[in-house]
């Protein structure tokens, strides 16, 4: 029990710090790609520190308890996901029979919290942003679910004994080893889908529609300030790590320590570093480069492209994996 307590404290603070560092790296790299110098890597920490000492303003039209509660809900949800994810060489803190399903729901929660907070803040910009947030959520949930379900089903098919909806088991058995050629193609499609869902889930350009600075002046977060905004910022940073770690756990759970024949502490360090590098690459590809190289889309365009082409691709991946499971056993 004590171990669990300290473990969760470490993961909570570790996740927050890691998220903010990656945010700093992301900002720095994006700046370099745009030929700017960019802020120092510790800038997100300074921002949070400054926000925490600022006044927390609740607008006159807002419903205070919902408005103040939403950021906590968002942060709590993403941090809870962290507890279920395999990080580095560590096994997840919690794990259970269907934790993948739980993670899926918990990932939706920050967006819901943000939308509720937006509606509760009483600003027309925030209301429009909240509507957009909901539309966005409805758009990317289906491809995300399709990808995850396909994976778990296939793993269950390959190894009938295990609890396939457990992230621990999925991480322990990298999917690629069990796939035939059809399934391989399907899995690649699903990786592509997840890489596109990731910036949408994180509300980054080209999918930062709910916050759209030039249109809605910050959208859902327009009225937030001080501590609440700091919490939202932290939740956003942690969510980046969570999404990255989730994709890694699903598709690239490989560890270096075992390959190099290292065990014990040395193996742990090597594995952790390797995990961080993998996470960095995922964030670089799915967040930094995408957001630097694209314009913001309209909400109708996002809804269309996620519902029709991307869902199509995800379902194609699903079907391929199912066919693979049925015929190439």
């Amino acid at each position: 029990m004590v171990q669990l307590f300290w473990g969760s404290v470490v993961i909570l603070f570790g996740g927050v710090i890691l998220g903010l560092i990656y945010q700093g790296v992301d900002r720095k790299l994006a700046a370099r790609m745009q030929a700017r110098i960019g802020p120092p890597i510790v800038q997100p920490f300074r921002d949070i520190k400054k926000l925490l000492v600022k006044e927390n303003i609740v607008p006159e039209n807002a419903i205070p308890w919902i408005y103040n509660g939403a950021p906590f809900l968002a942060l709590a949800a993403v941090v809870t996901v962290l507890f279920y994810l395999p990080l580095g060489d560590q096994r997840p803190l919690f794990s259970g029979y269907g934790d993948l399903i739980l993670v899926l729901y918990l990932l939706a929660l920050p967006a819901v919290a943000l939308a509720i907070g937006g509606f509760a803040s009483g600003s027309p910009y925030a209301v429009i942003g909240a509507q957009r947030e909901i539309v966005m959520m409805m758009s990317y949930e289906l491809p995300l679910a399709a990808a995850i379900v396909a994976l778990a089903w296939r793993l269950d098919r390959a190894l009938p004994g295990i609890t396939a909806f457990s992230l621990k088991e999925i991480a322990a058995h990298p999917i690629w080893a069990y796939l035939g050629p059809l399934g391989f193609i399907g899995a690649i499609l699903l990786v592509g889908v997840l890489l596109l869902v990731m910036p949408a889930e994180l509300s980054k350009i080209p999918f930062d529609i709910a916050e759209a600075e030039t249109e809605l002046a910050g959208g859902v977060t327009v009225e937030y300030s001080g501590r609440n905004l700091a919490l939202l910022r932290i939740a956003d940073a942690v969510k980046t790590v969570v999404m990255g770690a989730l994709i890694l756990a699903l598709f690239f759970p490989y560890r270096l320590g075992g390959v190099l024949g290292l065990a014990g502490a040395a193996g742990g360090v090597v594995d952790t570093v390797f995990f961080l590098v993998k996470l960095f690459l995922i964030i670089l590809i799915a967040v930094t480069i995408v957001r630097v190289a694209a314009a913001r889309l309209k909400v109708s365009q996002v809804a269309y492209s996620f519902w029709v082409p991307l869902t199509g691709v995800a379902l194609a991946g699903l079907v391929l994996i199912v066919l693979d499971g049925l015929f190439f056993m």
Binding site: Q34, A35, P124, A212, E213, A295, L297, K298
Partner: protein, 413 residues
């Protein structure tokens, strides 16, 4: 925030006077149905400075640099239009070489302004990389302008009856070098803007201004030309050295076969105009004759002041600024060097009416780019002074300062 009309309730959101998508104050009130814009009400006037009134209190040589500061981007355009108005009113000749130099500066400014606009448009679309890219390459033309005129933004080069500095033999190769730089760059810009899938998604058939609307609502400049209205003062009523140069109005059908009149077409027109401007500067450099450059010496300046004082008349100065037609009207009485009437009409003033048809049926997400697509220059448009608030009181700067001190003290407890 909801507005009820006869049968339906529309949701109204205000954009402005301060909003991230506006670089200058302008207020819009949009009636929305979901994400769709039903109607818009526009209220300018948040940036009144009383420039015209000030101009009627001083002599034209002083007003020159006031006119220049009406707008930071098209500063030389205002200078050219103003000095042409004065020259036409008083019959002051300009030496040919000065006319060529004016063309060169005006076209350099067009390059500068259009590149700046491209960056702003990209930013409004959420494409900050292009903003940084375009504003980075803009530095080159600003450096050239600084070299030729002595300053990056307010060039102070044009004066009544000529220009104040010559383009020397040593400067010419540097100008040509900058032109080569932009020629190479243009391909990249066209590629980045016109062949980019996300930009095309966001701008095609957005903010459509039909030919009829553009004509009837007095749209000018690239806004009109993107709808197929061939209005370009440089061609229609050539001035400066434009009669001697080869040019024709740029319309989007030079790039894509059909004209939509949308934001994408406006990007086309502006990018092609950069190319045209490069060509015009090259022509002007080649054809520029040797000779006088106008009223640059002390004796000439003093004599000019005497002429302004003695003569009377009225004149119109029009100039095709980067944003469209710029119009200065000035009227002098004899025995006074101070004009009795000065009226400035800026491109945005004319293009303001075009906003409504462009917004109708657009989505919220289209609002920033439509606002940006006429390249609004609010500073140009709002020029009249009246400092007061809604309670019919006048606050002077000292009183406001005292009030803010008072508030600070109150907050400190």
């Amino acid at each position: 925030m909801a507005r009820v009309t006869d049968e339906r309730t529309y949701y109204t959101i205000p954009i402005g006077p301060t909003h991230p998508s506006l670089k200058e104050p302008l207020q819009f009130a949009f009636d929305l149905e979901g994400e769709r814009v039903v109607d818009v009400e526009i209220k300018p006037g948040w940036n009144h400075r009383g420039v015209e009134v000030l101009g009627m209190k001083r002599n034209p040589l002083q007003t020159l640099y006031l006119a220049e500061r009406i707008c930071g981007i098209c500063s030389v355009s205002h200078l050219i239009a103003f000095s042409r108005a004065v020259e036409n009113a008083l019959g002051i000749p300009v030496p040919p070489r000065a006319e060529y130099i004016r063309v060169i500066i005006a076209e350099l400014e067009r390059i500068h302004s259009h590149i700046l606009w491209a960056g702003v448009a990209a930013h409004e679309l959420g494409f900050d990389t292009l903003l940084h890219l375009t504003w980075r390459v803009r530095e080159q033309v600003m450096d050239i302008l600084e070299l030729l005129t002595g300053n990056r933004v307010n060039y102070a080069l044009v004066t009544i009856g000529g220009v104040r500095r010559d383009i020397t033999k040593e400067q010419e190769p540097l100008v040509r070098q900058a032109l080569r730089y932009y020629k190479d760059l243009l391909e990249m810009l066209v590629d980045a803007f016109l062949h980019d899938p996300t930009i095309e998604l966001r701008t095609r058939d957005v903010g459509v201004l039909s030919y009829k609307d553009a004509l009837e609502l007095m749209a000018v400049g690239p806004t009109a030309r993107a709808s197929g209205v061939k209005k370009d003062i440089r061609v229609d009523q050539p001035y400066l050295a434009y009669p001697a140069l080869e040019l024709s109005p740029i319309t989007p059908d030079l790039f894509r076969p059909e004209i939509h009149g949308d934001v994408y077409d406006k990007i086309i027109v502006r990018l092609l105009e950069i190319e045209q401007a490069i060509g015009l500067i090259e022509q002007a450099l080649a054809k520029m004759p040797e000779g006088e450059i106008g009223h640059a010496t002390k004796e000439e300046m003093t004599e000019l002041l005497v002429q302004i004082k003695e003569r009377e008349g009225e004149g119109i100065g029009r100039h095709e600024a980067p944003r469209g037609e710029l119009f200065h009207y000035i009227r002098f009485q004899a025995d006074s060097e101070i004009p009795i009437l000065w009226k400035v009409k800026c491109p945005t003033y004319s293009n303001l009416m075009s906003y409504r048809p462009m917004f109708q049926g657009a989505q919220i997400a289209d609002i920033p780019i439509i606002i940006a697509c006429i390249d609004p220059c609010i500073a140009c448009m709002d020029r009249v002074i009246v400092r007061r608030d809604g309670r019919e009181e006048v606050w002077t700067a000292e009183q406001l300062l005292a009030k803010s001190w008072e508030k600070t003290r109150r907050l400190k407890g």
